[in-house]
């Protein structure tokens, strides 16, 4: 067994350990960059493009977060979920519950308080985390039984789950809206007061470019790391051939559930950001149609491609905005475009490839390098 190919993985690992200091730096640097970039988007890009485009950028970011999270389960693992908006709704409710009632109890007003990363924004960040966690817990509850099903059946069960989440949202109790009413009731007691069919309103408007893009960049880093690792390849293997994946020792149920949970977590955060952007969380807005919209972004962008989903989200949010004045024909054009893309480019914009893996990108890079060399 001393020979080269026979050496097992664990016999090889020792010699290949990276320098711990350098590795820690490489591990954390992207997050620092993400923080800095989010600051730049917030303080430089936002004012530069003006109020209208800031709104659009917020929508684009939230769409990237939601479609990017769906991509983990739909694109990587090939498990077709039609209930993603349900996780969004759960996350939104959990976050709104914490920030609205928290603001009423602690600050005595529902409106945003405090400056950058002040007490109000920290409460909001806590809300985002809570939203993610609640969605993740439901991800386990929904995923464990349903991910045994394949293909369309999984889609149908997740659809059923999303619809149930919507109906449950619609039958929650009225939302007390003055400080005294809130103060005399416990947190737990208020958990049912989510506004019912009229929606959960007066959610403090904390969502701004910084938070949206901070979470977007974090998701992109994690999605990238996942895709190019054993865990990610295991998911791709499940998508490609479930029987072979299982035969190679991949616990496919476990892999699918963990993808589902990670996906639900970020959908929950996306839902929290959405709720704190629109101010009113209406269960009917986050039903089946919203789930479909997210699936469309993933399919148009390219299933499994991170850059594809970013492009898909940007295009599908920005294009309708540009054609706002033709509102009557806008949806018709959208529908026709959807059919056309499926007929002409069924793999979506990027296919499974990332931007830097496409041939034209490589050619471009080669030309740039060649040009430099020629100039020098």
């Amino acid at each position: 067994m001393s020979d080269r190919a026979g050496k097992t993985l664990s016999e090889r690992v020792g010699a290949l350990r990276p320098n711990p200091v350098v590795n820690t730096g490489l591990s954390l640097a992207p997050f620092v960059v993400a923080f800095a970039l989010a600051m730049v988007v917030d303080t430089v890009v936002g004012p530069l493009v003006g109020a209208t485009w800031t709104e659009i950028l917020l929508d684009v970011g939230i769409a990237i977060l939601l479609a990017g999270s769906l991509n983990v389960v739909n694109g990587y693992a090939g498990q077709f979920s039609l209930g993603h908006a349900g996780f969004m709704l759960l996350g939104g409710y959990a976050a709104a519950w914490l920030t609205f009632y928290g603001s009423m109890k602690f600050f005595g007003t529902w409106e945003p308080v405090g400056g950058f990363l002040g007490s109000g924004q920290l409460l909001f960040l806590g809300g985002c985390m809570l939203g993610g966690l609640v969605a993740a817990v439901f991800g386990v509850v929904v995923g464990l039984p349903s991910l045994r099903l394949r293909g369309d059946y999984l889609a149908i069960v997740t659809l059923g789950f999303g619809e149930i989440a919507r109906v449950l949202g619609q039958i929650t109790a009225r939302q007390p809206k003055n400080v005294e009413q809130v103060a005399e009731r416990s947190w737990w007691d208020l958990a049912d007061n989510l506004g019912g069919a009229e929606g959960f309103s007066q959610i403090p408007n904390y969502t701004r470019l910084f938070f949206v893009y901070l979470f977007v960049f974090i998701l992109l880093i994690l999605a990238y790391r996942l895709k190019y690792s054993s865990k990610g390849r295991a998911l791709l293997a499940v998508r490609e051939n479930e029987i072979a994946a299982e035969a190679m020792g991949i616990d496919t149920t476990r892999a699918k559930v963990s993808a589902f949970v990670m996906s639900a977590f970020f959908a929950g955060i996306g839902g929290a950001l959405y709720a704190h952007r629109v101010g009113v969380l209406k269960p009917t807005e986050l039903g089946f149609q919203k789930s479909i919209d997210l699936v469309i972004i993933v399919v148009i962008g390219g299933m499994g491609s991170i850059t594809g989903v970013v492009l898909g989200a940007a295009i599908l949010v920005i294009l309708p905005e540009l054609f706002r004045e033709f509102s009557e024909y806008r949806m018709i054009a959208y529908a026709l475009a959807l059919v056309a893309v499926m007929l002409l480019r069924p793999q979506g914009i990027m296919g499974v490839k990332e931007l830097w893996e496409t041939s034209w990108w490589r050619k471009g890079v080669a030309r740039l390098r060649g040009g430099k060399r020629g100039g020098a």
Binding site: G160, I171, M342, L343, P346
Partner: protein, 315 residues
């Protein structure tokens, strides 16, 4: 007792409606293995086309429709919708016959959005709700105890039974039916055996869309005609689809059985659970939860549906 009878009639009427729509889903799924998301929009168009066709005959004025109005409108609308379904299949689905199923699904969603939004244009059906209820006199045929036997309910049940039995005859008793079952079982082998697969698929879409039109008209005879882009059509379609899945998708009898089960939980269970918990108003809003709850339970314990057969992948 009267109450039980009335609820039973209601269940049968609602179940019949779901069955008509569910059959379209189940036929298409059985042959092409994809969920035709545009089906609920054909239902909506069925309702609206009925209004347009009645308008041509001048039957839309209140109280001005002869007894023959409903049968004539029903048949004509079914024919128009059949042509519509065939056209959709030709233009949107056929080019994708070999593509991954998710693509076909997205295309179906595209077609669905198209139908919804074309329908609300001014020159088409417009963006104001309307009604075709004047077509059918709200007459009571008789009384059993205190229960009224309404024309609408009995007609829905009769139309459903006639169409389901007719379809059953077609699928199990004719050459075309045998070809449909062969294509459903194994498209490639069926093609090798000389079956014209494209023709089978065309006929399937024609039948499914005609049944959808009938469902749309019956639904509209009872409810207002909401806009084609209204979410209530999607929900109606979803419930019919749930019925098809619960019964075992791809199975004609399964769709009918599933539709009755869904109607049972939605009308019957809802009626009596609601009565027991009369003090809790939110219980009255649980209808949809029963429906989707049944769906999840059935799929978890018998993924192929109540009457479906499990497909085993050969290793």
């Amino acid at each position: 007792m009267d109450d039980v009878l009335e609820t039973t009639i209601n269940t049968l009427a609602v179940g019949g409606l779901y069955a008509l729509i569910a059959l379209g889903y189940t036929l298409v799924y059985g042959i092409l293995r994809f969920i035709n998301f545009a089906h609920s929009d054909v239902v909506a168009w069925g309702g609206w086309l009925a209004l347009s066709i009645a308008g041509v005959f001048g039957w839309t004025a209140a109280g001005g429709a002869p007894a023959i109005a409903v049968p004539v409108v029903l048949v004509l609308t079914m024919a128009v919708c059949a042509a519509m379904g065939v056209t959709i299949e030709r233009l949107a689905y056929r080019p994708l016959r070999k593509a991954p199923r998710l693509n076909v699904l997205i295309t179906a969603i595209g077609v669905s959005l198209l139908l919804q939004n074309v329908g609300i244009l001014d020159g088409v059906f417009g963006n104001k709700p309307d009604t075709i209820r004047p077509l059918l006199a709200n007459s009571v045929l008789g009384e059993v105890g205190a229960v009224q036997l309404r024309l609408y309910d009995l007609m829905t049940i009769a139309v459903t039974i006639a169409l389901v039995v007719g379809l059953e005859r077609l699928v199990y008793g004719t050459r075309m039916g045998r070809a449909m079952r062969a294509v459903s079982h194994d498209e490639r082998t069926a093609a090798l055996m000389g079956i014209d697969v494209n023709r089978v698929i065309t006929v399937t879409f024609a039948i499914g869309s005609a049944l959808a039109a009938a469902g749309g008209i019956l639904f509209a005879l009872r409810n207002d005609l909401r806009l084609t882009a209204d979410a209530s059509w999607v929900l109606l379609g979803l419930k019919a689809f749930v019925a098809a899945v619960v019964g075992g998708i791809g199975n004609v009898r399964g769709a009918a059985a599933g539709a009755l089960l869904i109607a049972f939980v939605e009308v019957f269970v809802h009626r009596y659970v609601g009565a027991v918990f009369a003090d809790k108003p939110w219980v009255s809003q649980l209808q949809d939860i029963y429906v989707f709850g049944i769906l999840i339970l059935v799929l978890l314990f018998k993924p192929s549906g109540l009457l479906g057969k499990a497909a085993v992948e050969k290793v």
